[in-house]
């Protein structure tokens, strides 16, 4: 499985430079964390399709590119430019432009006591204890080379801390913007979200682009949900169709914590979304809910690794996929039930709609059960828009495009229904509606405009 990195010199040089000037380089523990992660990355290199976890996703286009870290972010951009990207009535919005926090573009609302919203860079500058206690403690850099790479270059990203017993009414919106790249660029946003006992909060991570180019956005988020915490996390990917987006969400659930992870993959070219919850405390509950909608030649890979480490925990995975043109979707749902995790209740469902003959879905359940008193179920379906339903709607006067949109929205609605009512859900719903409008307009047999201009990941690989 070990592969030499094609551009090892490039990465070595970049890392050496980075180490010298990076924020927090004066902190011994952070320097060590980065160095060990980089060593691990150099040892294993980028994964190949021979690696079971990467069987359906070929990242050789990433391993071949000569990526550089971004320079100073574009100062000409003003808050007014970002109006379209604001989420209505979110308490606070942190904006990261090409990986770097921009306070002039961000919006820090009234947060109230017990809530800290800041950045990794800022916390490192303060040598914050919490940062040291949590950063890098959860993410699995041994198994996943991209997580190792992210940790090696971890410098900026959101830091959220919610103190015991605090409930946030409004959502926190983290917006990661890529600007146009003339030469290959990589960013490694790193977020740390720590929710203490009996807290309640919603965080939305959203990735967008203001221009195309060869851009790798390799983000990682560590989310800690303390005892009885109730947390919703949203990951929204809507970058340009030539972007590489790798994201990892590692969730640590303590006793009776309840976390809902919602992933919405609409944009990006080659996208891999890892969700890795560990149900570490007894009675924890996790919902892993997702919708991916692909067209053109998009490759959207959803990789779930649900670890049941304690008794009486439950996990629910529900992913719906809509794939048009030559897009390729992947659902890989791995459930690991540890020896002591008796009375585990794990469920996994993946439903897919293929709108064209050349769209493709690979769906794969993977159950590893070491306990003997557990309930694990999984199921997957693949279908088309139902002709009878379409005709029924049309026979009542609804135009074909509108009828298709209604049916797609109904299918996507299953995912929306699992989100708590609130601004984050409204925001998501609007994005889905807008996106499905485009998809529904494209009738079967017609060629999407511009689909040939996009990359073909398979051919590249």
């Amino acid at each position: 499985m070990t592969t030499a990195i094609q551009n090892v010199d490039n990465y070595l040089e970049t890392f050496t430079e980075f180490e010298k000037r990076a924020a927090g380089t004066n902190l011994g523990w952070l320097r060590k964390l980065r160095a060990e992660a980089f060593a691990r990355f150099c040892q294993v290199g980028f994964p190949t399709t021979r690696d079971e976890d990467w069987r359906f996703t070929n990242v050789s286009a990433i391993s071949r590119a000569q990526f550089a870290l971004p320079g100073k972010s574009d100062a000409s951009l003003s808050a007014a430019h970002l109006k379209a990207w604001r989420m209505e009535s979110s308490a606070t919005q942190l904006v990261f432009l090409d990986g770097q926090f921009r306070s002039d573009l961000s919006q820090l609302g009234e947060l109230g006591g017990g809530i800290t919203v800041s950045t990794i860079k800022e916390e490192a500058a303060k040598s914050a204890k919490l940062l040291e206690a949590h950063l890098g403690r959860y993410l699995d850099i041994q198994r996943d080379p991209f997580s190792a790479l992210n940790t090696a270059f971890a410098e900026d990203g959101a830091f959220v801390h919610v103190a015991r017993g605090t409930a946030l009414e409004q959502s926190i919106h983290l917006l990661f913007i890529s600007t146009k790249a003339d030469s290959p660029r990589m960013v490694h946003p790193r977020n740390l979200l720590v929710f203490e006992k009996e807290t309640q909060a919603t965080v939305v991570e959203e990735y967008v682009s203001l221009g195309g180019g060869t851009i790798l956005c390799n983000s990682a988020t560590e989310l800690v949900a303390g005892e009885n915490a109730t947390i919703s996390h949203y990951m929204i990917e809507r970058e340009e169709k030539d972007a590489f987006n790798i994201s990892t969400l590692r969730i640590e659930l303590e006793r009776s914590a309840n976390v809902a992870s919602h992933s919405l993959l609409l944009g990006g070219g080659l996208v891999r979304n890892n969700v890795h919850p560990v149900l570490a405390g007894e009675g924890a509950e996790c919902l892993i809910n997702g919708l991916f909608v692909g067209n053109g030649k998009q490759h959207l890979d959803n990789y779930m690794h649900v670890e049941h480490a304690s008794p009486h925990c439950s996990s629910r995975q529900f992913y719906n996929g809509i794939l048009d043109d030559q897009s390729h979707g992947v659902f890989h749902g791995r459930i690991v039930v540890h020896k002591d995790a008796q009375k585990t209740d794990a469920k996994q469902t993946n439903r897919n709609l293929l709108l064209s003959d050349s769209a493709q879905i690979d769906t794969k359940p993977q159950l590893e059960i070491y306990a003997d008193d557990v309930k694990c179920t999984h199921g997957a379906t693949i279908g088309q828009i139902e002709e009878n339903a379409l005709f029924y709607l049309r026979s009542r006067g609804i135009e074909e495009v509108a009828a298709r949109r209604l049916l797609l929205m109904a299918f996507a609605g299953e995912c929306l229904d699992r989100m708590k009512t609130g601004t984050a859900r409204e925001h998501t719903e609007k994005l889905i509606q807008k996106h499905l409008h485009t998809i529904a307009n494209h009738l079967p047999g017609a060629i999407s405009p511009g689909s040939d201009a996009q990359r073909n990941w398979e051919e590249l690989g």
Binding site: E386, N388, A389, F391, Y392, L393, R394, S395, R396, G397, I398, E399, E400, A402, A403, L406, L407, M409, A410, F411, G413, E414
Partner: protein, 256 residues
Amino acid sequence: MSLLKIKNLHVNVAGHEILKGIDLTINPGEVHSIMGPNGSGKSTLAQVLARREAYAVTAGQILFDGKDLVEMKAEVAACEGVFLAFQYPVEIPGIGNTYFLRSALNAIRKYRGEDEMDAMDFLPMFREKLKLLEMDDKLMNRSVNEGFSGGEKKRNEILQMAVLEPKLAILDETDSGLDIDALRIVASGVNALRNKDRGMLVVTHYQRLLNYIVPDFVHVLVDGRIVRSGGPELALELEEKGYGWIETEAKAPASA
């Protein structure tokens, strides 16, 4: 002008000729019934009129209100005033009944150049229609036909017809699978919609429905052709003697 004029209609389904030359004229205000044994082409005729594309018209003509119906897509035919009450109404999870019906009504109103109806105007009208079909408005909060009993589905079809107020209503075996109570409710719903402008085509296998919805004309369809037409008494004759005699008669060209 006649509402529906079908001339020498031939229809193929998956390469098989199902309708082999149908002639039928329905004038405004008339209720026609099509009866016939299984596989005679009754449902095919209903689906073709609702413009199901898989059913190919290979010859002949259908004029609806003077316009070429064959040229119309399903949604256009609906907007022009054709309504099919399905034999097997489709369940559509995730789309609310009320929302669906209002979307349909507004699509039709938009086509006719009328203003769209908002929820405030729609609901009172809708509640009236629900009463007509003796339907529980709780059903309307559910997805289209999802979890409905057979009878509820059929009543929902007539409810849609009552809301959309078509010029031509086609009822495809609306009676099959209904108990007497449900049949009575459905029939009274249909009868309430009879008027001097609206035409109806009632497709049925059994005469029973025609005790409640009394047609002006009865046509018997056998093997893709109308072999006999008459008044309501023809339905009674069929009930008494079955379809056997008429099939035999139709198959013997010498006696035809």
